[in-house]
């Protein structure tokens, strides 16, 4: 592995600064798994890299930002408490393999099939609100999830979701017909009991599918893994 080590020796600094392009970072991480010297150096240099953000003059965020964030957190905390108090009945869900790169007619067909499944399973309309609720199709054993769509966003409430792989989080994507999946800022990890909530804010107009997959911690701009939860939205 010596030749390999020499090839990577200089990459540790760029790695801890987050300056390796994605493909190179992935290859370097493979090397790290086998090279104790590089691991030790990366840990050492990480201390310096982690001090960098503390060097600037500290600036206070505007109070309105806290109000916005806390409003969202309180809302999700309530939803979560509600979901815990009323556990849904266990249901066997159809499992489906999904590919991001299937040709469009196949996607349309699959969406139609999924939609049929959702309709057969019963589309629930949120009590009194203008929101629509959908069951999400899951490829994960046991996991279940529901999607609430409102005018200005969507909320996913999931149960029995397994922990994502190390270094990964779940990420929500939205997809409009004939378009590639669009990233959202909704990244989440389930709590210890497997429950999770995630909310997507923004215009849901024209969104046909909401998908959840696993991505590296900061999220990605294009999907790098297969979706595990899928909801097809009735128009």
């Amino acid at each position: 592995m010596n030749g390999d080590h020499e090839r990577w020796e200089d990459a540790t600094g760029a790695y801890v600064l987050g300056a390796l392009p994605d493909d190179e970072r992935a290859a370097f991480e493979e090397h790290l798994a086998t090279c104790a010297a590089c691991r030790a150096e990366a840990e050492e240099l990480r201390v310096a890299a982690q001090a960098l953000p503390l060097s600037g003059p500290p600036v206070l965020p505007p109070p309105a930002l806290k109000a916005r964030i806390m409003a969202e957190v309180e809302r999700e905390a309530e939803l979560l408490a509600g979901a815990r108090d009323t556990p849904g009945p266990e249901r066997e869900r159809p499992r489906r393999r999904w590919s991001w790169r299937v040709p469009m007619p196949a996607v349309a067909l699959a969406c139609a099939a999924l939609l049929a499944g959702v309709v057969a399973g019963g589309v629930l309309f949120g009590g009194g609100s203008d929101g629509r609720r959908y069951d999400m199709d899951s490829t994960l054993p046991q996991a279940s999830a529901e999607l609430d769509v409102t005018e200005d966003g969507a909320i996913i409430v999931a149960n029995k979701l397994p922990m994502p792989e190390a270094g990964k989080v779940y990420m929500v994507w939205i997809q409009r017909p004939g378009r590639a999946p669009e990233p959202t800022s909704a990244l989440f990890t389930p709590r210890r009991d497997g429950s999770a909530t995630a909310s997507v804010t923004g215009d849901m107009e024209g969104v046909a599918t909401v998908l959840v997959n696993q991505e590296p911690l900061g999220g990605s701009t294009t999907p790098t893994s297969q979706p595990v939860l899928v909801a097809s939205l009735a128009s």
């Binding site: 600094g13 987050g18 300056a19 990480r46 310096a48 600037g56 965020p61 806390m70 989440f188």
Partner: protein, 192 residues
């Protein structure tokens, strides 16, 4: 009944509470770390509205991913700032901000003007001074590549194009500079 004030708890003890859905535990973490988080976001993206979005995304990510924190890998603050850093790089790469900045020659540090109220926490200011001292020991060519990478969100390939230096040189400067900084910090005793 005695009501525990979560604000008295250490970060590491707040995380499991937050992971169980305790909004007050999250709020305490926000109070402690939003200043450093927003400062970093603002320094990286250079625009208030974007910095607020980045900070919001990062803290909501913290709220939803709390169970993922592993204390072996560093402090809660470093973890939060790591999330902010990722989100800010995403924002830079998504936005035209990055393309626009490519044209000017100033370093990320020079771009900073204090826009909002500056935090008056003395410990935090002392800490910033220690880190800046550690950065001051670096030759300017090493500091520049480190700042462009960390605060500018550029990859080493982009930096080598920007500075017209070979990729190997850029990577070497990053590594050497961080080593020196690490050495200087070990004398200044900053806990990250």
């Amino acid at each position: 009944m005695v009501v525990m004030d979560v604000r008295a708890l250490a970060d590491e003890d707040l995380i499991p509470l937050m992971a169980r859905g305790d909004a007050r535990a999250f709020e305490a973490l926000y109070e402690r770390h939003s200043g450093a988080a927003y400062s970093l976001a603002y320094r990286m993206v250079g625009a208030r509205a974007v910095a607020e979005d980045v900070t919001q995304e990062a803290f909501l990510n913290l709220w939803r991913s709390g169970a993922h924190y592993d204390r072996v890998r560093g402090s809660v603050r470093s973890w939060i700032l790591g999330i902010v850093h990722h989100r800010a790089i995403d924002a830079l790469r998504r936005n035209a901000v990055h393309a626009k900045r490519r044209s000017d020659d100033e370093t990320a540090a020079e771009r900073l003007e204090a826009p909002d109220k500056v935090e008056d926490d003395v410990a935090r200011r002392d800490e910033a001074a220690i880190v800046r001292n550690a950065m001051d020991v670096l030759p300017s060519d090493q500091l520049k590549v480190i700042e462009l990478a960390y605060f500018g969100g550029y990859t080493h390939v982009e930096i080598s194009e920007l500075l017209d230096s070979p990729v190997g040189t850029v990577k070497g400067r990053m590594r050497l500079g961080l080593k020196k900084m690490r050495e200087a910090l070990s004398h200044g005793a900053v806990e990250t």
